[in-house]
């Protein structure tokens, strides 16, 4: 799509020049800006269109029983369910409380996982001996499908938040660890040499060269890993809990309330998107030193 537009503008420009009437610089930039604005509007309109079409088809399909409304529910029922939860609360308490619980578990797990991952990743990236000793163990642990640990944590830590936090931690730790490790490994040797010549000791090299240089790597993993933290918390809740969005899913499923399952999923998606947005904002602040396009590229 962007490619097409680019070639179109180019084509129209050459056409204008060929006609022997080079457009004035001012009008040309104006035209370009207008085109860019229009394009943006078109994209947004198309996006909304896709959503409306999808929901509309679903709704119509469900009402005409082309899709089974019992299994697949329908948008209006899902909306009613959300609205009911918002106004009357869920069976486990208010909706806000459920969201709060899940977020609390996911965030705690995420923070613990990130801190451990970053610290260990940098330590092993910097200290060769540690890397050689612990490397194989970390590989083995990484090979275990960690989501199966959730039931074990439930046995260990009970129905409360601790078991969910633990599931989130094990999911978050590994991607963050590997990125931090890689980041610490791949620090530009010239920067380290320069810092040492300028008078930095090992501690300063780690704190003021290795960590800033690795932040790009670490941040890439933070985006992905927050999603993992949410998954950990939800799965933990789904298996056994007293509160949370995962429990909402489980409870709705238990009563064959498909609308409830979809409604909880919708709420989850919104929560994930909002936190993702906040993370991007923090990243923009932290990476002012990077060229703008490189930062926006992701």
């Amino acid at each position: 799509m962007p490619l097409e537009t680019a070639s179109e503008t180019a084509a129209s420009e050459t056409a204008a020049t060929a006609a022997g009437k080079p457009p004035a610089a001012g009008t040309r930039t104006e035209a370009r800006e207008r085109a860019a604005r229009n394009r943006k509007l078109t994209v947004y309109a198309a996006r909304v269109g896709v959503l409306v079409a999808f929901l509309g088809l679903w709704e119509v399909g469900a009402r005409t029983e082309v899709v089974d409304p019992f299994n697949f529910s329908q948008p209006s029922r899902i909306w009613d369910q959300i609205w009911q939860w918002v106004t009357h609360g869920t069976a486990q308490g208010s909706l806000g409380e459920q969201i709060g619980y899940t977020l609390y578990e996911a965030l705690s797990g995420w923070v613990i996982g990130v801190v451990c991952g970053v610290l260990l990743g940098i330590a092993l990236g910097r200290i060769r001996f540690l890397a050689e000793v612990f490397g194989p163990y970390i590989k083995v642990l990484n090979a275990i499908p960690r989501i199966v640990l959730a039931p074990i944590f439930l046995i260990w830590f009970g129905l409360g938040p601790a078991s969910k936090v633990a599931s989130a931690v094990v999911l978050v730790f590994f991607p963050v660890f590997f990125n931090a490790f890689q980041g610490a490994r791949e620090v530009d040797r010239n920067l380290v040499a320069n810092a040492r010549i300028l008078g930095a000791d090992n501690r300063r090299v780690t704190l003021q060269v290795v960590i800033p240089a690795a932040t790009t790597w670490i941040f890439t993993s933070l985006h992905v890993s927050f999603g993992f933290a949410l998954i950990g918390a939800i799965v933990g809740e789904y298996i056994g809990a007293t509160k949370g969005l995962g429990l909402l899913v489980a409870a709705a499923q238990g009563t064959f309330n498909a609308a409830g399952v979809y409604a909880a999923m919708t709420i989850l998606a919104v929560v994930a998107l909002v936190t993702e947005g906040l993370l991007t904002l923090a990243e923009k602040k932290l990476f002012r030193w990077k060229p703008a396009d490189a930062g926006d590229g992701r």
Partner: protein
């Protein structure tokens, strides 16, 4: 003037290549740099000039032989050494001012004083107006000048410069060369005159700046020939270039260097074939 600033005796450096073989970068190198002396080093590309500087700086240890700075064997990094690297080595996450402050801060100078000294040096390299920028917002030449300020702010008694001006345009280069001579002359009045080892591919630059020009052999590097530049000081790069003695020296050094460059090239071609 008794103990030389830098003394390499029989210095040899071998690297282990990824395939496991040993690669000799510097072989049996003897070189002495007196206190307050300005030595330029020229040699074919890849011969081992940068490696020689890393030996003097203490970043790398010689495999054989000895490296001394002010008579003391080099063990680790000497705080009196300043090193302007061939590659870009300013910290991209620090602003220009913060980059120049880095050295003094690493050495425990209080922030206020470090800032003052950094501002002074930014003024001298003509970047006072850019102190809040990040390196990616500067041109290549400006970044190089940040690197120079970053090194000079530490007042190094031994200055290792690895092709410091090769990224600059001709005009800025002449300007920076003159500035370097001025800075160096400024230190020579004090009792602890700065000694400079300046690696370059530009013979003009080497002759205009240095007291002696060292020609290295094709790799593994060792000293081939040393030329004493008996041109009067103070010099300016533009003026000294026109002197007959300059032209004469240029021709001699060019002939000596040309031979090594040819050997290097033939070897490269041979390996490629």
């Amino acid at each position: 003037m008794s103990t030389p600033a830098i003394e390499l005796t029989g210095a040899t450096k071998r690297f282990r290549t990824p395939s496991g073989a040993l690669h000799t970068a510097v072989r049996d190198l003897d070189l002495t740099v007196a206190q307050g002396e300005f030595v330029a080093v020229v040699g074919p590309t890849g011969c081992g000039k940068s490696t020689t500087l890393t030996l003097v700086s203490g970043l790398e240890e010689p495999t054989e032989g000895e490296v001394r700075v002010y008579g003391e064997p080099v063990r680790g990094i000497d705080p009196q050494v300043g090193f302007v690297f061939q590659q870009d080595a300013v910290f991209p996450w620090r602003t220009v001012l913060s980059n120049v402050m880095a050295g003094p801060r690493f050495r425990g100078v209080p922030a206020a004083e470090a800032k003052e000294r950094a501002r002074d040096w930014l003024g001298r390299v003509g970047l006072a107006a850019f102190e809040d920028r990040y390196p990616h917002q500067l041109s290549g030449g400006m970044r190089k000048r940040v690197a120079l300020a970053q090194t000079f702010v530490n007042d190094p008694a031994i200055l290792l410069m690895d092709e410091p001006f090769s990224a600059l345009d001709v005009q800025t280069r002449a300007l920076m060369s003159d500035q370097l001579l001025e800075l160096w002359a400024g230190t020579s009045s004090s009792e602890n005159a700065a000694s400079v080892v300046f690696v370059t591919h530009d013979l003009d630059e080497a002759i205009a700046l240095a007291d002696r020009v060292v020609v290295m052999t094709a790799g593994p590097a060792t000293v081939k020939e040393i030329f004493t530049v008996d041109l009067p000081r103070p010099r300016t790069v533009e003026a000294v270039r026109l002197e007959p003695r300059f032209v004469e020296l240029y021709r001699e050094i060019w002939a000596s260097l040309g031979e090594e460059v040819r050997i290097t090239r033939e070897r490269g071609a041979g390996r490629a074939a």
